[in-house]
């Protein structure tokens, strides 16, 4: 199994037969791309829930005020 690995040393692995920059930047790009499009939606969900909570409180406040205004 392990001998199927194409690289005898880590340096070789990094170097990618001279194409290190391109190969690694492609994989880096890909990683960023995947991470961003998974993490941003998750973060956004938190934000939305926070906002909705705040909004709910404000509305409750408005309603109570209006009811007092009527009296």
């Amino acid at each position: 199994m392990l001998d199927a690995i194409q690289f005898s040393s880590f340096a070789e692995f990094v170097d990618m037969g001279g194409y290190g920059f391109n190969v690694w930047s492609v994989y880096a790009l890909f990683a960023v791309f995947v991470a961003v499009n998974l993490i941003l939606p998750l973060r956004k969900k938190e934000k939305i829930i926070q906002q909705l909570k705040r909004r709910a409180l404000i509305d409750a406040e408005i309603q109570s005020e209006e009811s007092t205004d009527e009296q």
Binding site: Q6, F13, N22, V23, L29, F30, L38, K45, I48, K53
Partner: protein, 247 residues
Amino acid sequence: MWVWFSKLGSPKWFYELSGKWLPWLIAAMVIFMTIGLVWGLLFLPPDYQQGFTSRILIVHVAVAGTSLAFFPLMFVAGTITLVWRMKLADMVAKNAAILGAWFSFITLATGSLWGSVMWGTWWEWTDSRLVSMLFQLFLLLGVISLRSALEDSETAAKACALLSIVGCINVVIIKYSVEWWNTLHQVSSPVSMGNDSPNGPEFWIATLIMIIAVYLFLSVSLILSTRNEILERERRSQWVQELVLKS
């Protein structure tokens, strides 16, 4: 049919169902990604003529192939929005446009990173796939900016639906006309993409795994952002209120 549709149309239903599916999808995505990446990076034997750069293609081809799926997707979503007035379809379409732009961009980027090795240039107008992908990106950005320009969300939904339908037809026309145009320039073209693509089964198996992984990633990301969209648009509805207060 109708019952089924209206049921499927209901954001609440989708939110709950997708909630059930997400963990499995994510698990599958993680598995395929790791297999694909590890194999691609460590085990894939170097291509006889392209050396280790064939590792780029695994990612590139997967992303590129997937990015071709977006306009058909938006076409379907658009039709559903216009014909059946299904809110959910528009929520999907909105995020599909954005994600699609991402995919097209990554295709371009990885492609040109490969090109800089293969052709010694980062960009090549004489390759039809590059050009048509570029214009697919433009069309997607057009849809996105139309959405952001229109203030009323109802209007924006239908307008973008119509535009994506027209755009999808156009992408096809563009693709073919560009290819044709390109054949006339082949003579002078220094390279043509894909003629000397790495061969050998390992390469294509690795690519296949990556393609599956990328499709899984697409659906996960799309579902996540659609769920956010649902929360925002249905924020007044009973079930969202409860859900918010629970969390």
